[in-house]
Structure formats: structure tokens, C-alpha cells
């Protein structure tokens, strides 16, 4: 059950993002459900398992998108590693842990992805529209993290983190 959930969650996240949330954008931004579940996993399991899980989930997204394979894998792996460092210092029952964790993860993910694209795509432009889009994603991810953290925490305590 544990492994089934760990595989199904990223798979379903990408499916929901591509067919549902892509039509329901906020300032042009699609929420990153994959990043949200990786953040939750890292918060509950710690940095090293978080990195491996984040990397594999990011790789699945890269393979689906079919471009610059490794960017999302590396970015999400590093984000999970950093967020996972908080694991021993936070009170995981608190819903705000998930909220703050997801917002921080979105910002860190944006910075890493921007750096990776600046290195791989020389004519990459960062303008105010990009920042508005990122703002939209921070709010979207943050709002979704509240109900999702309550659900994920319950499921994770039962099946994922025993």
C-alpha cells in the first residue's frame, strides 16, 4: 500500500495538472501538485529520503514533458532535501507547517529552475510577467496546501510513515 501510494500520488498529480488545473489558472499559473506532495513527504521523512523521492517524481514529470530531462528532477530533489532539513525541528501536527513548507518550496523551486534554465537556455528572459506568474503559483500552491496537508498527514501516518 505504501509503495502504491508513493507511485500513484505523483502520477495522479501530473494527470490532474494537465487536464484540470491547466484550465483553472491563477494569473496564468498552474499549481504544482507534484511539488506539494514532495514537500509533504520531505517534511515527514527528512532530507535524504526526500531528495530521492523528489528526484524520482521530478524525473517522471521530465519524461512526461519530454524536454531538458533532469531539470525538474534535480530541482525537486534539491527542494525536498532543503525542506527535509526542517523535519526534526517542526511540529508536524500543525497545518501551518505544510503551508509555510509549500510556499518556501515554491520559491526555492523557482530559483533553482531559473538558474538551471539560465545555464541551459542562453536567451532566457526573466521579466515582470514571470514574477507575476510565480506570485500566482505561490498563492495557488499555498491555498491548496491547507486542505491537502490535512489529508496527506492522515494518509501518511497510516500508510507512508509508520
Amino acid at each position: 500500500m505504501r509503495y502504491l501510494l508513493l507511485v500513484l500520488l505523483p502520477f495522479v498529480s501530473i494527470l490532474l495538472e494537465s487536464i484540470f488545473f491547466s484550465r483553472l489558472t491563477l494569473w496564468g499559473a498552474v499549481p504544482d501538485l507534484l511539488l506539494i506532495i514532495i514537500t509533504f513527504y520531505a517534511l515527514l521523512r527528512g532530507s535524504r529520503p526526500g531528495f530521492v523521492y523528489g528526484f524520482l517524481c521530478g524525473l517522471l514529470e521530465d519524461l512526461y514533458l519530454g524536454r531538458f530531462i533532469g531539470t525538474n528532477a534535480l530541482s525537486k530533489g534539491v527542494v525536498a532535501f532543503i525542506i527535509g532539513k526542517l523535519e526534526v525541528n517542526v511540529f508536524k501536527d500543525n497545518i501551518m507547517v505544510g503551508f509555510i513548507g509549500v510556499i518556501s518550496a515554491t520559491v526555492v523551486n523557482f530559483i533553482i529552475m531559473t538558474l538551471l534554465f539560465l545555464v541551459t537556455v542562453p536567451d532566457m528572459v526573466i521579466n515582470h510577467n514571470v514574477l507575476i506568474n510565480m506570485g500566482g503559483q505561490i498563492i495557488y500552491n499555498g491555498l491548496l496546501s491547507l486542505p491537502l496537508y490535512i489529508w496527506y498527514y492522515k494518509v501518511a501516518r497510516k500508510y507512508i510513515v509508520k
Binding site: I19, G70, L116
Partner: protein, 292 residues
């Protein structure tokens, strides 16, 4: 001090980082074909996305059925309720009418362009789940004759080009994507330039415009004869704001796309095309032999 070297996670993480850094530049959009892993993952998602789309349409139909049934009850119970339900039904019919209209436009467009374009209609089944790329997935793949880099349009204008092909589905890179540059020109003045996108802001810019060229807001931008992937003369959009850069003797303009790239549901894939032949003035000889 170097105890971390003994941990298995350190080596796993190190290998993952090294492998990623090596793979990223090798998997840009320039490569000819995608790997078997990518095809497998895309192949897993395509039927699910088609299935969910089908389910959504079926639920819409089911919704209309219940609305109709409620109509009959409402006629007996309350005339006002009946009127409201008729309005609801009217909305559903309008939706079908719009769909029929869109499909008719696609068909008309296809008929008009049969002479120089081989077109195949396709339905949008998914959109990019990622804010960094601007793509859509369509329900036509190599089994329908779709191939990489084929142009994708609607009757209103250019949409993008095929970036990945599966058996029964394909991924289309929209013109707003950062890597979806299009060779273009302004239809009225024939000023050439390059239209580039920006996936995150979903805007188009026309770069490398001659500094002394006459460009004004509202001018129509179309694909150029020298465009690598697209037939000549397909509408891209209209010029918005024009800014000059005297330092590099060039102008840049924003382009308002002709197609609302967040809204369309059906597209046409151009499987083959021939650009119209240039019109030479044959009455006047180019090189007249000097009379002895």
C-alpha cells in the same frame, strides 16, 4: 570529518546530480526523437487524458438529460421554473451550436486549403502541467500520419508545432513557448522579424525588426516564406506596442496572438504543404541580348 562519504545516501544523491547535469543538455528540443522512457510515460498518460475528456463530455450529456426531465415536472408545477429551465437548456444547446460552428469553420478552412495543404483535424486533450513550458496534447499521433515539427493551426491562425509524437497522441509546442520561435513578417510592409514567446507570461514578441522600418500598432504579422517549419502567410497576430533600441539599430514589438492560446479546443495539423510559387513578371525579359 569525512564520515558522510560512508553514507549510502551521499553516493546515491551524488550520482543522481551528476547524471542529471549530463542529461539536461543532451535532451533539448533539437534532438530528432524522444527516448523509449519518454514514449512510455506519454503513452501511459494519453489514454487516461482521452478517457477523462470523454467522461467529462459524457457527464455533460448526462447533465442535459436530467435538465430535460426536470423540464417536464416544472411545466406542471411552476411556469416560472419552466422558463428558467428552458434558459438552461438553451445554454446547453448554444454550447452545441458553438461546437458545430467551430467544427464547420475547421471543415471550411480545410476545404479552402485542400490545394496547398494536407490538413488533419485534432482535439486538445491536455495542456501543459508545468508553468515553464507552453504545450498542449492532441489526440492524433503517428498512426494518423502526424510527425515531429509539423505545423499546427486553427482557422484563426498559428498555434505551434509538433514537438513529440506518440502512437495516438502528440505534444504541440505553442508559439508562446520560449523555444517556439517563428520566422515572420509584417504583411502590409513585408518587414521581416522573428516572433518569440515567453511561456511564463504567455506573450509574443517580434524581434530583429529593421530600425528604420515603418511599423505601427495593428499591423498583421504572418509566417514568412523562410520560416523553417511553417507554410507562408499563416496569421500569427497583430502588432501591439513598438519599442526602438537605437543602440543596436533594431525595433521590438509585442504581438497579440490571433488565436487565444488558452481557449481553443480543436486544431488542424498540417501534414504537408506547398508554398505558392513566386509570381514573376514574365512579360518583361530579365536580360535582353544587346542588338548587334
Amino acid at each position: 570529518m569525512f564520515d558522510f562519504l560512508k553514507g549510502k545516501y551521499f553516493w546515491i544523491i551524488l550520482v543522481m546530480i551528476i547524471v542529471s547535469v549530463m542529461i539536461i543538455p543532451m535532451t533539448s528540443t533539437d534532438r530528432q526523437d524522444n527516448t523509449a522512457f519518454e514514449k512510455m510515460v506519454q503513452g501511459l498518460y494519453a489514454p487516461l487524458q482521452r478517457g477523462v475528456n470523454f467522461l467529462a463530455e459524457y457527464l455533460d450529456d448526462l447533465g442535459s438529460y436530467f435538465v430535460n426531465k426536470q423540464d417536464l415536472v416544472a411545466i406542471i408545477q411552476n411556469i416560472e421554473k419552466e422558463r428558467q429551465l428552458y434558459l438552461l437548456e438553451n445554454q446547453a444547446l448554444k454550447e452545441y451550436q458553438y461546437e458545430a460552428q467551430r467544427l464547420k469553420e475547421l471543415l471550411d478552412f480545410k476545404d479552402q486549403n485542400l490545394a496547398n495543404m494536407d490538413l488533419i483535424p485534432a482535439q486538445v486533450i491536455a495542456r501543459s502541467p508545468n508553468n515553464w513550458y507552453s504545450t498542449i496534447n492532441i489526440n492524433r499521433g503517428y498512426s494518423h500520419g502526424v510527425a515531429k515539427d509539423m505545423a499546427v493551426i486553427t482557422p484563426l491562425g498559428l498555434v505551434g508545432r509538433v514537438s513529440f509524437v506518440g502512437k495516438d497522441s502528440a505534444q504541440v509546442m505553442l508559439i508562446t513557448d520560449r523555444e517556439g520561435a517563428v520566422g515572420a513578417l509584417i504583411q502590409e510592409t513585408r518587414v521581416p522579424g522573428i516572433v518569440v514567446g515567453d511561456a511564463k507570461s504567455k506573450q509574443l514578441y517580434m524581434n530583429h525588426l529593421q530600425f528604420y522600418s515603418e511599423i505601427k500598432s495593428g499591423d498583421q504579422v504572418v509566417t514568412s516564406r523562410f520560416s523553417e517549419y511553417f507554410p507562408q502567410g499563416i496569421i500569427i497576430g497583430k502588432i501591439g506596442e513598438v519599442t526602438s533600441d537605437p543602440e543596436i539599430l533594431s525595433k521590438t514589438a509585442t504581438v497579440i496572438p490571433a488565436v487565444d492560446l488558452d481557449q481553443f479546443e480543436e486544431v488542424l495539423v498540417i501534414r504537408g504543404y506547398t508554398n505558392p510559387a513566386p509570381q514573376w513578371n514574365l512579360e518583361q525579359p530579365i536580360d535582353e541580348e544587346p542588338q548587334p
